[in-house]
Amino acid sequence: MQEISLHILDIAQNSIRAGAKLIEITVTENLKEDVFSFTVKDDGCGMDEELLKKVTDPFVTTRTTRRVGLGIPLLIAGAEATGGNVKIKSKVGVGTEICATYSHSHIDRQPLGDIASCMMSVISMNPDIDFIYTHFYEQKSFTLETRELKAVLGDVKLSEPSVALWVKEYVNENLTEIYGGAS
């Protein structure tokens, strides 16, 4: 994984497979405290304590198509390489929350990358799931809530390609704005 946004896309797939109805993705960049973090929180099926303990093991996966699950181990390796960490909270029937923290300035911190394309992918591929994406950069922030978009769109689905591309550009423009103009 070359970008943190790809980890976000990957972790969000776990929430989707857990049957989540609402997925909240929050990215926080705090330069003063040298923190880069992201959280993916869902209201999916959750994990019991036994699975929660094993989930960081690459040889643990719930899928049947192959025997390894590398998503979480790769995420942990990336965060720990910068002196950060990954925290996972989960409760059966309630949901799961994964928080990855990095040192913002560390040379080994992967770039955020194309988060707009990632949000476009998860939103357009899962039009029946609600997403809230919030991005904090220093004092500024931006929030995208799919429920607001659905209220405008009515019968037109978020999976419609022209709508999906609008989402991507909307995220990009707003990120440029909170980053302080030129990107």
Binding site: Q13, V156, P161, W166, E169
Partner: protein, 123 residues
Amino acid sequence: MKSIAELEAIKKKVLDNVNLRKEREDGIRVVVGMATCGIAAGARPVMTALLEEVSKRNLGNVVVEQTGCIGICRLEPIVEVFVPGEEKVTYVKMSADKVAKIVTEHIVNGNPVVDYTIGKAEN
């Protein structure tokens, strides 16, 4: 600057287009593998290119979907094309560059791009 109000215009355009379409059920399904293996291999730009191409050509009968791991991770990114009444075509080691050709030749004109298929890659 984009605003949510712009979605109204997009919605209207989509609805006008829907009225001209046949039932979505007999449409073409394009499925991208988006598990860890697919994402790490570059599925995201493939997905973006597919949405852009379908939108640009206004292909109302095509839906782009995602799936998990298909089980042949070494050939990711993988794209499967389901045309009603025809056998599924599996494209492997996809890239954004290959998307336009597949959309033009296969999805629009009905001729699978054999060079990019799994059958070709495995030989």
